[in-house]
Symmetry: C2
Subunit: 322 residues, 2 copies
């Protein structure tokens, strides 16, 4: 395989000049750059990033730890995180933790061994002590410490908008249905806002929240409807819960939205092919993704970054509210 | 940061012994191993894979190039590919090409510069000349050359089952609606089987196939229904096309399955929350993913691998056929 020395020799320049062309740093005459690039092509020279990483003792890798890329919300997030990383010349290592604490810890170790430049993590587990601030980390939807920047959508505002919409639409008995977590995450603010808004407006409400695995939302929806069959307005912590709830409610003869209005959270439906089209609080997924990468890269480059970035959400009316 | 030398010194053993523990090779007395692991923990020692990669001039990275992880089929595939890689101690670099030839070529170059151990690629572009067999590559759904192993579901059988099902269900005028490609991919066999089966059974049929971007399936569905409003049985190349077609057909007052029966391909619906639940040809996604990784790792390890692995599909009845 051709080396950088072969390229320099054949181009009739010094190693430093080739290196400047490769790194895009310093000044090189345009015609010299052209010549060098031609020679590289001719010799089928490929810069060896493994050697570069070793010499610099740093890499251009970003590790992404998410519960599962096989999920409409996280896959959209992962898509934009990869896109933004790539645009900034970083490569993305994908890690699916399945929300298992053990796997998250193992992935953190693995990423450390591989000296990734930084990590973006979305975890609902109690792993604060493994989040070494010396590793550059950005976290989504979950506060760890002042040293670890958090990017989230405005969960409180989202919960408030959803609850107000249900109340304004005439609902008299509100329900909140959602996945729980053993630790405090930013997602809890959706429920907080629901409670605050219901109480402020003196509307009766009920809550069912439990730790539920992806794909098992239907079980909790069943439990909810067994316990609170009289609700007429439901806000769910995710669109998946909204889908599960509606499916279960319709199976019991309830009409949506005539008997029960439903508002989800996330905005996972990006085409209108499958029904119902949910009324939902749309997260700015692309902005969350790109901002996370931007903050991480700023950290890597020693630029000061905010402790917290909260991005606005919006209500998207579908078929499940009047 | 602690080095391997510090660990050896504090454990009172030689470098080779620590190395054997790290690599899990050779024999080390259990009590010595215990001691070494304890010391590593105490010193907060992390093996440096970047140094390892440089010294061995090889990595434990697998590059995955897919059109987009933000798509129900590819996200399931990526999930299982990452899972299988991780189980085999490989890390996954995720690359979303958006089906753009330029991006695919750039990613191939990037992965080469990073000396990945191997690449799994799913491409519908004419990039055969960039698929260097010296890189270890496994391709999904697309034949490049004898040197590049192909993993696919049995596309012909899938097309045959779908078409036979429509005919057995009494359909008299069949339609095929699908995304085209500028190069021959294994996916084309779905259409071939459709034609063969319709002709063998002397059933009238029509075809509309065009290159369409993800999310724009609806436009082709419109065109199809404008041109062939009389069809009573439709087989689509993907579930996304089935969803788009049904949405469009219902908008025109057609009842599914009473007026038109529809069978999709892929099996992307893994919950019953959103409707219609498609009748579809289910791809063995998990098996495709795990087999691709297995074949790639065998290649990496110099084990002989098959030129082609074709995995069986099955019909999953939903609500869109009688």
């Amino acid at each position: 395989m051709a080396t950088i020395k072969d390229v320099a020799k054949k181009s009739g320049v010094g190693l430093g000049t080739v290196s400047r062309v490769l790194n895009g740093t310093g000044s090189v005459k345009p015609e010299t750059r052209e010549k060098i690039l031609e020679v590289m092509k001719e010799l089928d020279y490929t810069p060896n990033e493994v050697a570069r990483n070793f010499k610099k003792q740093s890499t251009k890798f970003i590790g992404l730890i998410i519960p599962s890329v096989w999920h409409p919300f996280y896959s959209e997030l992962a898509f934009y995180i990869e896109d933004e990383s790539y645009k900034n010349d970083y490569k993305l290592m994908l890690c699916n933790s399945e929300s298992k604490k053990e796997k998250e810890i193992q992935y953190l170790e693995m990423l450390k061994r591989n000296q990734v430049a930084g990590i973006i993590i979305l975890s609902y587990n109690n792993i604060g002590k493994y989040i070494n601030p010396k590793l550059r980390v950005v976290t989504i939807d979950r506060y760890f410490s002042k040293e670890v920047p958090l990017v989230a959508s405005d969960n409180y505002e989202g919960g408030k908008i959803a609850t107000e919409t249900l109340i304004n639409n005439g609902c008299k008995y509100l329900g909140y249905l959602g996945g729980g977590s053993t630790v405090a995450t930013d997602v809890f603010k959706r429920k907080e806002a629901f409670i605050d808004t219901a109480e402020k407006n003196k509307v009766k409400y009920c809550i069912l929240e439990e730790v539920v695995r992806f794909g098992c939302e239907g079980e909790l929806a069943k439990k909810f409807l067994d316990k609170y069959p009289e609700v007429d307005g439901v806000f769910t912590s995710t669109d998946m819960f909204a889908g599960a709830f509606i499916s279960e409610a319709r199976g019991r003869g309830k009409r949506i939205p005539e008997d029960i209005q439903v508002i989800g959270y996330d905005g996972i439906q990006t085409n209108g092919y499958f029904r119902p089209i949910l009324s939902t609080i749309r997260q700015p997924v692309e902005e969350i993704a790109r901002s996370s990468v931007e903050i991480l890269i700023n950290q890597i480059n020693g630029v000061e970054v905010p402790e917290e970035l909260v991005l606005p959400v919006s209500f998207r009316k579908g078929e499940t509210t009047i």
